[in-house]
Amino acid sequence: MTVFRSIRRRTNSWSILSILFTLLILSPALSIFVQIFEKPNENWAHIQEFLLKNYIQNTLTIVLFTGIFSILIGVSLAWLVTAYTFPLRRFFKWGLILPLAIPPYIGGYTYHGIVNYTGIVQSTLRNEFGIHANPVFFDILNIPGAIFVFTIFLYPYVYIITRAYLEQQSASLIENARLLGSGPLELFFRVIIPISRTAIIGGASLVILEVLNDYGVVSYFGIQVFTTAIFQAWFGMGDVGTAIKLAGILMSLVFLILFFEKALRGRKQYSYSNAKVRPLEPVSLSRKKTTVLFAYVTVIFMLGFAIPFVQLFQWMLLTYEKVMSPEFTQLIANSVYVSMVSAFIIMAVALVIGNFTRLSDGILSKAISRVTVLGYSIPGAVIAIGVLTFFLWLDRRLNVLYEWLNIDAPIILSLSLIMLIFAYVSRFLAIGFNPVDAGFDKIGRSFTEASRLLGKPLWRTFIQVDLPMIRSAVLGGYTLVFIEVMKELPLTLLLQPFNFYTLSTKAFQYANDEAVHEAALASILIIFISGLSIFMFHAVLEKEKR
């Protein structure tokens, strides 16, 4: 009786909408779980017998080594930049984040273009020095090549989080270790790494989730992993059932990683202490050591950003006139349109859910805010399969309606842009939700309570008080989502309606059709937009700190 009453009292349009949105967001994942145990067909039997082991092996190899190398590079850079002075330190502090602006698939085909037979490296060796190098030496279309690409473009996740963490550490901690006789190496391994454990694990798991989400690099490099297998099952064999089984395994892998991340982090959360600690002042090293340090930082920056960017820029200059056509303008318009609409819907959903979860303390609201951010960890290909099966089911249910409306088509929703936008919402809701949640957290509840006691119901309070107060968080979230949708590849490739291309899918298509130079303009645009996202993100972060 009391439970019933309590439910009735808490039921309002916010809670109903939040539950509805959450169920919709969950529906792709649920539809995978429902169908994963359906009776397998011969395709699945074949994959299970001959290929599955290979998928697992390749996936795990890439994940493991990318993880290790990203940690080595990311943590070492974070420590060196924080602890020592060297030329251009301020520039590198931010510059080392820039590789993140190059999506790995773009980096992947750029590097292949640089080192293949007609690329700048081999042709220079041939033409300038008369060296005919063994092409095998320059072949990067293999697992080590993919690991290199993922590492060099994704290590900034580890670098950013670890550096932010180290910057907040008190100088006295490090100074104490030095006074107790620790040399630089001992200090790094016995103090820095253990204290930054949570940050390192946090950054590395972001890297791993990105690797598992990737389709562009592995497909271009011809490596068999889960995402490529999902694409093959779907497009090659037209077998959604098998694609679902593969997606199910990949999703379980993601959950396993999230579980490990939590377990490894232990009870420690990232400790952003508010107390004003004396920050660590960088010290100078001997000339020889400074030179080595400078060389290391420069090499990483060159490999992760400067080289691929300059190469793409040169290609863009070569092909600009050919590529720039009304179709290309249409491509930009398509990308901007889906990104704007998706970002708008995501922010609206994020605001409804954010407002509901902050105003109610129950288990339900906690669960809803967890689910909201889950989509971002699930690879795009998995979400795509889930969304497709959900929409096919929906179309079948709506068939009666189509007939009644005299529409002569069995499926409408699953061929439309609505499905793609729905999938974006499901995958990127977390990116819009986090700033909204932080914004609400910052203003607290008393303004809302004051407004309600002055006679305004929840909706009016939201429009007149809450929304104006978290305006900048909403704008920040909108921009971040907009950019993420612009860059997205696997989900868009799988769900784009017929004859609908975005900048990223077109760039990828060019590259796949051996027209890497033509892919440059779209790639440069994407890099520019991603760079903007990184800048925005840090501008928001800096503002939050203040």
Binding site: T2, R5, S6, R9, D361, G362, S446, F447, E449, A450, S451, R452, L453, L454, G455, K456, P457, Q464, V465, P468, M469
Partner: protein
């Protein structure tokens, strides 16, 4: 009676013990009551329950002969006709002083609204500050705006949650005395929550002492605080 609470009980989610245990009280028209207690005694929670910001487990609450809570009823905060001055004032930072005060004045003609604004702003001595934003005011002035905003819609009862805790000691004494004068002049029934006996002595007609979620004493300040 303006307000009656009968056997109100409440437990915060995840709390092991009841926060409020069978609290009953009644307020006469125009009375100023202070609820005195240590932190964690449940005194602020009583205000939140009266305002409708928390939902009691059981009990009954009546304001001006209208049941606002019982086994079958729960009136939403915006419909209770209760005003509240928050500890941190909660002035809307994106609105001017006038905007804040007029915020709760719905269903009034524009001229009526302006008149009401002028009268409450005069009452709290802030005439001329209408166009300022909250961050352009001192702590004491912000406090007065919060009071004017809560009084403007003419609530049946006005609640104050530790209203002086953010003020300097000197200002605290001054505002306390002014506040009593204003409240007595307008005849609004009020409940103050404080942990400071001096506040209670200076402002209250009657003092209620709470401990561990229950009322343990009630009476005039002279009787309770001697």
């Amino acid at each position: 009676m303006v307000m009656q609470l009968h056997d109100v009980t409440f437990t915060y989610r995840n709390a092991k013990e009841q926060t409020i245990r069978r609290v009953s009280m009644a307020l006469e028209k125009g009375e100023i009551v202070t609820i005195l207690g240590q932190s964690g005694s449940g005194k602020s929670t009583v205000l939140r329950l009266i305002a409708g910001l928390e939902v009691p487990e059981q009990g009954e609450m009546v304001i001006e002969e209208r049941t606002i809570f019982d086994a079958k009823t729960f009136i939403q905060p915006e419909k209770r006709g209760v005003g509240m001055v928050f500890q941190d004032y909660a002035l809307f930072p994106h609105m001017t002083v006038a905007g804040n005060i007029k915020f709760g004045l719905k269903k009034m003609k524009r001229t009526e609204r302006d008149e009401r604004l002028a009268s409450v702003i005069e009452l709290v001595g802030l005439t001329g500050f209408e166009k300022r934003y909250p961050h352009e005011l001192s702590g004491g002035q912000q406090q007065r705006v919060a009071l004017a905003r809560a009084m403007a819609p003419n609530p049946s009862i006005l609640l104050f949650d530790e209203p002086f805790s953010n003020l300097d000691a000197d200002l605290q004494v001054k505002i306390r005395d002014e506040l009593r004068t204003i409240l007595k002049k307008t005849g609004i029934t009020s409940i103050f929550v404080t942990h400071d006996q001096a506040d209670a002595r200076a402002i209250a007609d009657r003092v209620i002492v709470m401990e561990k979620g229950s009322i343990i004493k009630t009476g005039t300040p002279a009787l309770i605080l001697s």
